[in-house]
Every structure is written in structure tokens, then in C-alpha cells.
């Protein structure tokens, strides 16, 4: 046996209690890992998107459309290389609760602007030839078990009716943060089916002079200020970050829940250690009688609580990591959702801190314990 053997023996003394405490730590750190990954994924998402591409959207808000006529005027702006536009299509496949993004795009100019959309099956040519053609993210293909060439029917929501599409190409994003659960189809299809009722939701501009993006954006907004469709022009990255700030309150909520969980677990672990030490006062006195120093006794108790929290924390984080590997339950809402190494390290540090804090009081009590009075109490 060794000193660590003694710690193990003490942990096994009340297996049920140790396991239950450890399980609560596991659950807490699974939660921590998941919640924190929401924040890290959102943070990362706000850094996605090109600084070189400009997005022109309605100054009134992202749900407002812009006049088609803006396209030509944007094309003639100095420094703009090409113009594309797109719109949202809020459809669903079979299950209305199963959300994924669909964009109607002005494909001939849109696709060349997005090298992220790396076609891995089918081809852009086939897509371009067909009015109802669609490019589908590899994640969606897998999720719905679709195949290249398959005809799929989406139900529209604010553009009602059954919408048929033919899968003509599959993309795998060259940057995972772009997301692989997006569907792209021809803007013209949307335009024609709605009888010309629809206009662009936003324009995408590729610039000749990306270094002048700020000036160009300001110039565009000034130009359209008094038009029928005032604009808000920003880099794509800023545009994406704008969506993320819509999630900002979630970040706060997540932080608050995480903190609450942390303290709840702190009390659970501290209580366990208090009980463990209280019922062992006599044994600690015996150890001291045998010559175990206050520091050694302190360390034995602290090691026990740290072992519970670090082991529990490790298991919880590992669980979160494996649960959200690759495609997972949350990656449809947060593209690229996963537990990062940074989160695991932070979690382990927190588990260590949790163990130290929850074990501190009983460890100090044990170190200070007077042998004589403890033995008197027990005997």
C-alpha cells in the first residue's frame, strides 16, 4: 500500500456516496462542456466570413427586402468587382420542426465569390443548367439520406406550396465554420414561382480593392440613403457577427446557468467531504498518533476531494466531447459545434479548483484536529 492507496481505500469506503457525488460532477461538467461550447462556437462564428466581401442589406433590418434595381447601381460603384444577391427561403423537408438554411442565390455571380463552397459530387454546370437544381451541403445529404440526382420536395412557409428541387451538386465546406447543412438554389426559380413578387434579401459584393472596403461601404449607404431602399453595408464578417449578437443573451444565460451549476456542485462536493471527514475523526486521530503530520493528513483529505472532482470532471468533459463530435444534435443550429480542447482544459482547471475549494474546509479541520480530544470524543 501507499499513501495514494490510502486515499483510494477511503474513496471506496462509501462507494454509493462516492459514485453519486462523482456522477453529479460528471453531469455538471457535461453541462459545462456543452454550454461553454455554445459560447465558443458563437465566438468563432462571429469571426467567420470574408473581410473582402461586402453585404448590402436593408437599413430597416434583415427581414426587409431591397429593390432589384440596386443591383445595377451597385455594379457601377467604383471598387466593386461583381454583384450577387440572395434571399432566404424558409422551407422544410417533411418535418416542420427540422430547421435548415436554404438560400436562393444569383448563382452565376454568387458561386464564384464563395470558394468555401467546394463541390465534392455532381457539378456546378449541371446545377446551372437546371432551373430547379440545388446544391446541398454534405451534412444535409447525410442527415436526410439524400442522393445526387434525387428529386426532393420542400414545403414553403412564407412562400407556400410544394417546391421541387433536383440535387445537382453536393458541397463540403473548405472551412467547417461555413456549415455543411445549407441548401442553395436558383434565385430565378424563387422569382418566377412567386410571379416576380420577390426581390433580393441582400446583395453580396466582391471588391477590386478590399483594402478600401470601409470607404466603399460608407459610400454605398450614402448613395442609397434617400432611395426607396436605404441600405446598411458591412463586411460579411461584421454581418455574421451581427447574427451572433442576436444570440448574445443566450451567451449570458449560458454563463449564468453554468455559474449556478458550478456552485450547486461545489456544495454537493463540499458536503460529501465534510461527511466523509466527520465520520472519520477517530481514524484521522489514529493516523496522527502513528506520526502522520498535519500536512500529510491535510493532503490526504484534499487528494480525496480533488480525485472525485477531477475524475468526475474529466468523465463529464469526455462525454460532452464525444457526444458532440462531428455532426451532432447542436451542429444544425451552431455550425461547427463541438467541444474544443480549450474548453476541456478550462473544465479540468475548474474541476481541480472545485476539488481544492470543496476539500479545503474539511482538510483544514483534519490538519487542526487535536488527537487527544478526538480520541476522547470517539472513545
Amino acid at each position: 500500500m501507499t499513501l495514494s492507496g490510502l486515499v483510494w481505500a477511503n474513496l471506496r469506503r462509501n462507494k454509493k456516496r462516492t459514485v453519486l457525488t462523482m456522477l453529479s460532477v460528471v453531469v455538471a461538467f457535461f453541462l459545462f462542456g456543452t454550454l461553454r461550447s455554445v459560447i465558443t462556437t458563437l465566438d468563432k462564428a462571429s469571426e467567420v466570413g470574408s473581410e473582402g466581401r461586402l453585404i448590402v442589406s436593408s437599413a430597416s433590418g434583415i427581414t426587409f427586402l431591397l429593390p432589384q434595381a440596386h443591383a445595377n447601381r451597385l455594379q457601377s460603384v467604383d471598387g466593386v468587382k461583381s454583384v450577387a444577391w440572395a434571399n432566404w427561403f424558409g422551407g422544410y423537408y417533411q418535418n416542420p420542426n427540422d430547421f435548415f438554411a436554404q438560400f436562393a442565390i444569383k448563382a452565376d455571380t454568387y458561386l464564384p465569390m464563395y470558394p468555401e463552397i467546394a463541390i465534392t459530387a455532381g457539378s456546378v454546370d449541371e446545377f446551372m443548367r437546371e432551373r430547379t437544381g440545388a446544391i446541398i451541403g454534405a451534412g444535409l445529404i447525410k442527415k436526410y439520406g439524400w442522393q445526387l440526382g434525387q428529386k426532393v420536395t420542400l414545403k414553403g412557409t412564407f412562400m407556400p406550396g410544394d417546391w421541387e428541387f433536383n440535387i445537382r451538386a453536393v458541397y463540403t465546406p473548405s472551412d467547417p465554420a461555413f456549415g455543411d447543412e445549407i441548401m442553395l438554389f436558383h434565385y430565378e426559380y424563387l422569382y418566377e414561382r412567386t410571379g416576380g413578387e420577390i426581390t433580393p434579401g441582400w446583395f453580396v459584393l466582391e471588391l477590386n480593392r478590399p483594402d478600401r472596403a470601409g470607404d466603399i461601404a460608407a459610400g454605398i449607404d450614402a448613395q442609397f440613403k434617400n432611395s426607396v431602399g436605404p441600405t446598411k453595408t458591412q463586411t460579411e464578417r461584421a454581418w455574421n457577427a451581427g447574427f451572433v449578437t442576436m444570440w448574445g443573451n443566450i451567451g449570458f444565460l449560458v454563463g449564468a446557468i453554468g455559474t449556478a451549476v458550478f456552485f450547486a456542485i461545489l456544495f454537493v462536493a463540499a458536503n460529501t467531504m465534510m461527511m466523509a471527514v466527520r465520520e472519520r475523526i477517530g481514524e484521522i486521530a489514529v493516523l496522527k498518533t502513528l506520526g502522520f503530520g498535519n500536512g500529510t493528513v491535510f493532503g490526504l483529505v484534499l487528494a480525496e476531494s480533488v480525485l472525485i472532482t477531477v475524475l468526475g470532471g474529466f468523465l463529464g468533459l469526455l462525454l460532452a466531447r464525444t457526444a458532440f463530435l462531428g455532426r451532432n444534435a447542436l451542429s444544425a443550429f451552431f455550425p461547427g459545434f463541438g467541444v474544443t480542447g480549450g474548453t476541456i482544459i478550462l473544465g479540468l482547471v475548474m474541476a481541480l479548483a472545485l476539488g481544492l475549494v470543496s476539500g479545503a474546509v474539511p482538510a483544514i479541520q483534519s490538519a487542526r484536529l487535536s488527537v487527544v480530544s478526538a480520541l476522547r470524543r470517539v472513545a
Binding site: 499513501l3 503530520g293 498535519n294 500529510t296 488527537v371 487527544v372 470517539v378 472513545a379
Partner: protein
């Protein structure tokens, strides 16, 4: 003294207790457990300490073990004045010099007999193999090698106390102290324990101080001291 002949084998003075006093203060009131206690214990002596309940036997034993501190006076063991040591040094000193036997055995229930005996050795630099050898030797002395893997809950009171003795002798301490080591045992088991202590004294030349309420137990020692109303007489 039941074994006067043994006194001749006793050697140098091992323990010197000088003007020892223990006084508890509660509010304005002083509880004098004892004052002016003087005692010499020679190497290899086996002494019994008797006295009424509350007379301070355990207190004296605890001070000698470095577990309690006197109000005044000094205790010198083998040339070292333990009453001047701080807590840290005292703990280290205990592990080297004191083997303590408790009335209620006080084995750790989560450890096997062998592991319990091994506990004091965890504080030494002995290798795992060396520790194992010492443990088996100690268990051999108390006749429990076949029970080494048993947990305290699987042993009788007498057997548990024998493990307690093995734990007290495993690090070959300078003095063995027992606070009513047979106090919780039936006559037969108590006799086994006393036989063991006697063997430790005669065969191994151990210095032993044992508190007891039992005159028959005290008879097994070479000399009996009495503590009464704060006075120690030999």
C-alpha cells in the same frame, strides 16, 4: 513485582519526566490533573500504571507519546526533550519512537490487517518489499500471518488488538505505550494480549508502559505505578 529477576536486564534511563504538571483552565477555575510528577523509565522496563478513573493516567501517557502538551515540566526520551518540540517535529518523532496501543484497537476499517500494520511504515523510506517484510514479521510475532488479508470487521476483538500491537511494533519504536489495551477484551483474549506484551518485553527487550484497571494485568508487568489525586507513586 512478579518478575523481579528481569529488572537486572534493564539498562540506562530511557525516559525522564521532571516536575510534570497538567492543569486545565475552564473560566476562572483550574482543574489540576496532576502536578510535580517525576518518573524515570529504564530501557527494557515493562511498567503498569493503575489508578482511579479521571486520575490522569491517559493524560500522562498522551504527554509521553507527544500527543498532548504539559502545562509545565519536561519529558526527555532517549536524550531528546520532546516537551520542547513543535507539532511537526513531534509527529516525526512519534513515528520513530512511539508504538501506541489503543483500548478500542482503532484499526482503519477500510484497510486489511496487513495494510493497517503497514501504515506507520508509509512515513519511512522503506521500499515496498522491505515494508512487506516488516509487516509480515510483525504479524508473525502476534501470530496472525494467516489473517493478513482480512479486514478488521472480519476479525475478533482479540485478533484486532493483536493487529493493533503489530502496528505498534512494526517500526521498532523506542517505547510501546498501551492505554488499557485489554480493557475491551474478555479474559481469554486479554490474557493473549498480555502474553504478547510480556514476550515483547522479555524476548525483544521492549520498553513498555501500560495503563490498566485490572490488577491481574498489572501483575504481568515488572512494576506497577499508581496515580491518585495527582500523585504518582512507584
Amino acid at each position: 513485582m512478579s518478575h523481579p529477576s528481569k529488572a537486572s536486564t534493564n539498562g540506562k534511563v530511557l525516559v525522564e519526566i521532571r516536575d510534570l504538571a497538567k492543569v486545565y483552565r475552564r473560566g476562572g477555575e483550574a482543574i489540576r490533573v496532576f502536578e510535580n510528577v517525576n518518573l524515570e523509565i529504564r530501557q527494557g522496563e515493562f511498567l503498569a500504571l493503575m489508578g482511579p478513573s479521571g486520575s490522569g493516567k491517559s493524560t500522562l501517557l498522551n504527554i509521553l507519546a507527544g500527543l498532548d502538551t504539559p502545562t509545565s515540566g519536561s519529558v526527555v526520551v532517549d536524550g531528546q526533550e520532546i516537551t520542547r518540540m513543535n507539532g511537526k517535529r513531534l509527529a516525526a518523532w512519534r513515528s520513530n519512537h512511539i508504538g501506541f496501543i489503543f483500548q478500542f484497537y482503532n484499526l482503519l476499517p477500510v484497510l486489511t490487517a496487513a495494510q493497517n500494520v503497514e501504515l506507520p511504515l508509509l512515513l519511512t523510506s522503506l521500499s515496498k518489499k522491505q515494508r512487506r517484510e516488516h509487516v509480515m514479521t510483525a504479524l508473525g510475532i502476534v501470530g496472525l500471518t494467516d489473517r493478513s488479508e482480512h479486514f478488521p470487521g472480519q476479525l475478533s476483538g482479540g485478533q484486532q488488538q493483536r493487529v493493533g500491537i503489530a502496528r505498534a511494533v512494526v517500526s521498532d519504536p523506542t517505547i510501546i505505550l498501551g492505554d488499557e489495551p485489554t480493557g475491551d477484551l474478555d479474559a481469554a483474549s486479554g490474557k493473549e494480549i498480555l502474553d504478547l506484551l510480556e514476550r515483547l518485553s522479555t524476548e525483544f527487550g521492549k520498553t513498555i508502559l501500560m495503563v490498566t484497571h485490572d490488577a491481574h494485568a498489572a501483575e504481568r508487568a515488572q512494576a506497577t505505578m499508581h496515580m491518585d489525586k495527582g500523585v504518582l507513586s512507584r
